[in-house]
């Protein structure tokens, strides 16, 4: 057992007892060459990144300043503002970004994690560099002991997971003690206790499953445990003051997928009969959105129904119906039920002539929802009927835009941009590529003036792929190269590799084999560094087709070997192995065709979440891809 404590091992001690510690001591085989750091988290506040920050403070103490300062300087621009105490900075105030997140997050049932996947990646790399120094470049073994593992906030655990995925060199062993959440900390909130217990178990199970060499349940080991002493809870868990501002805080935590914190913030307001019913209905809505983000759609739908029953406001009822319609459309693929929800929502708003600002906002969102239902329904109709259905969808989007036109406020602005993007998408679905290009450009090019690199990536990628469909190949590659340049300028490797894939795909299609090969190779390098293995496989397939077209046997088989060494997905491994078995077929193109090695079309949109980093689930269908595909099969 002692020998099994290796780099990256993650030991989870469930229900630790006093017998564990001596055994733990015996694991540390050469104390003179070991460093042990213990971190305890004594509360259940789940503040975002709190545990990671605490861990980093402890780690940094273990290395001299002349070693830590250059690392801090290097990572300051990426993660410094989130950890002011670690990086010696002043804390940040609120920004307009916060407002835009809140406006957006309450209109969605799915998450957006790309914006902080980059952050998590950089934080993990920061930790690797610190640990490189602590381990004196592999000479010292580091044992990180996480007490109260079940109290760790989800964003910090995502960094730990990322660290383990990236750290290939330094000897670190994680030993975590995972108790069930203590009831006494939440005695006044029995429902929250139940909810957190369930949600924690769900997430930690997922987390543990993907850690390298996990050993669980060491509780029967002999020995004494001194590091597990319990600390008293120092401060009350919740503030007494109940304020609407909590809703904003909770929405911001939801945008960071820090679900436990959302529940903790909202619990004092949730089911509290002393609270105003309207505020309570809003709380139910946010808890429902959190449940939907976690993938618990049945619970989300149920809570939304409760919120619907609680509120007396017609506009809020309409909003709830919009969210329920979204769940029916995008998660249950039940178009009839969705249509019913949207119609109920519209009925709640009453006569068209009497609509105030809020009613108009909800009205437009409901029309947008109906447009999506029609677009999906068109997939199963004859060509003629589908065309009529898509035209109705487009008319609904235009109607919605006309309602939202000229209205002031973040809520209307977010709606308008959604509608503009959706209209472009409908033009693309109906193969009106030239109109889509013109519309996209006129709608969004004005914001290029802001020189916001992440906006440029999204804008040019979409434009480049539309131009490719219109047959404007040269211009398409030019647009995508602009997106590539912007992604490099902000070190956004996640989008950089997606853009590279699109460029390489187009070049391969155009038989520009040398150019496409060079881009697929760069994509392989980046996805390998990111440990994004499903994207790695896409670049690998591209490189294989490239080698086949060039009839370069050596390159082909070297690429197969690289794939077999690195891919983790069993299906991908099987495909590569079957290629190897058919090696006697000297025609490489036939070999790929006969073994179903396809290169997928680039997605019309950049991904909004990175599952390998946020560790949350993915819907069973990508609706965007489905809508653009020739696939006639129903969703679900």
């Amino acid at each position: 057992m002692q020998n099994s404590i290796l780099r990256g091992c993650f030991f989870i001690f469930l229900k630790p007892n006093k017998k564990t510690h001596k055994k733990l001591d015996s694991f540390i085989t050469s104390p003179e060459n070991s460093s042990v750091i213990i971190i305890s988290i004594n509360d259940l506040t789940f503040y975002r990144f709190k545990c990671f920050e605490k861990l980093c403070h402890l780690l940094i103490k273990n290395i001299p300043k002349e070693k830590s300062l250059p690392i801090i300087k290097k990572y300051d621009k990426y993660i410094g503002s989130t950890f002011p105490s670690l990086f010696g900075k002043k804390a940040y105030g609120n920004s307009s970004v916060g407002e835009s997140i809140v406006s957006a997050v309450v209109r969605r049932i799915s998450r957006e994690s790309h914006h902080y996947a980059l952050f998590i990646d950089k934080a993990a790399r920061f930790m690797i560099e610190i640990i490189k120094e602590i381990t004196n470049n592999k000479r010292i073994k580091l044992y990180l002991i996480l007490n109260d593992f079940s109290n760790w906030d989800r964003p910090s655990l995502r960094i730990v997971n990322r660290f383990n995925a990236l750290n290939k060199n330094y000897p670190v062993t994680w030993i975590a003690f995972s108790n069930e959440i203590e009831y006494k900390l939440l005695a006044h909130y029995p429902k929250l206790y139940e909810r957190l217990r369930f949600v924690r178990r769900e997430f930690l199970d997922r987390f543990i499953k993907i850690q390298p060499k996990v050993t669980e349940s060491f509780c029967n080991l002999q020995g004494q445990i001194s590091i597990m002493e319990k600390h008293p809870v120092k401060k009350p868990l919740f503030e007494k003051k109940l304020a609407a501002s909590k809703m904003k805080d909770a929405a911001e935590e939801l945008a960071f997928q820090n679900y436990e914190r959302v529940y903790v913030i909202l619990e004092p307001l949730f089911r509290n009969s002393k609270i105003d019913k309207e505020l309570q209905a809003q709380v139910y809505r946010l808890v429902a959105l959190t449940d939907a983000s976690r993938g618990d759609y049945a619970q989300a739908y149920r809570l939304l129904s409760i919120a619907y029953g609680m509120t007396k406001l017609a506009t809020y009822k309409a909003h709830i119906k919009y969210l329920q319609g979204l769940i029916q459309t995008k998660r249950y693929y039940d178009l009839k039920a969705a249509e019913k929800d949207y119609e109920t929502g519209l009925r709640c708003l009453g006569k068209k002539s009497n609509r105030d600002r809020q009613s108009l906002l909800e009205n437009a969102w409901l029309l947008n929802g109906q447009a999506l239902v029609r677009s999906l329904r068109a997939k199963n109709l004859s060509k003629k009927d589908a065309s009529k259905e898509l035209e109705k969808a487009l008319t609904l989007e235009i109607q919605a835009f006309n309602i939202a036109k000229g209205k002031v406020g973040a809520d209307f602005a977010y709606l308008r941009y959604n509608l503009l993007a959706n209209i472009t998408f409908l033009l693309e679905i109906t193969k009106q590529y030239n109109n889509a290009i013109k519309f996209w450009t006129k709608s969004f090019e004005q914001y290029l003036i802001s020189k916001d690199s992440s906006f440029e990536i999204a804008y040019y990628t979409r434009l480049g792929l539309l131009k490719f469909k219109e047959g404007l190949v040269k211009s398409s590659i030019e647009e995508l190269n602009k997106a590539l340049k912007s992604s490099v300028s902000i070190h956004d490797s996640f989008y950089q590799e997606r853009v590279l894939y699109s460029i390489a795909f187009i070049e391969l299609n155009e038989k520009k084999f040398n150019e496409s090969l060079s881009h697929f190779k760069k994509g392989l390098e980046i996805t390998r560094d990111l440990q994004e293995m499903s994207s790695f496989y896409m670049h690998l397939c591209g490189a294989l087709w490239n080698a086949a077209y060039l009839n370069d046997n050596r390159l082909f088989w070297d690429t197969v070997s690289l794939g077999l060494k690195l891919v983790v997905n069993e299906h991908h491994k099987t495909l590569l192995n079957s290629l190897k078995k058919s090696a006697k077929d000297k025609n490489l193109i036939n070999l790929l065709k006969n073994n179903d090695m396809e290169i997928p079309l680039p997605s019309p949109k950049l991904p909004s979440y990175i599952p390998s980093i946020d560790l949350e689930g993915t819907p069973s269908q990508d609706i965007n891809r489905y809508l653009l595909s020739e696939n006639k099969k129903s969703l679900g």
Binding site: S96, V97, E99, S100, I101, S103, A104, R108, S110, E112, H114, E391, L394, T395, I398, F401, N402, K405, G406, A410, A413, Y414, R416, Y417, N418, L420, A421, I423, N435, K438, F439, K442, S443, F444, Q446, Y447, I449, S450, D452, S454, F455, A458, Y459, R462, K605, L606, S608
Partner: protein, 37 residues
């Protein structure tokens, strides 16, 4: 809706989009979220 009518509607939409310079940062943030999310 004919192609011509559609193009006119689309033209009306894009000509209605205006942003005041003070709002640019916020608007870009909104636009970014709408096209990425």
């Amino acid at each position: 809706m004919s192609r011509d009518q559609l193009e006119k509607e689309l033209e009306k939409i894009v000509s209605s989009i205006e942003v005041s310079s003070e709002e640019t940062e916020k608007e870009v943030e909104m636009a970014k979220r709408a096209i990425l999310w």
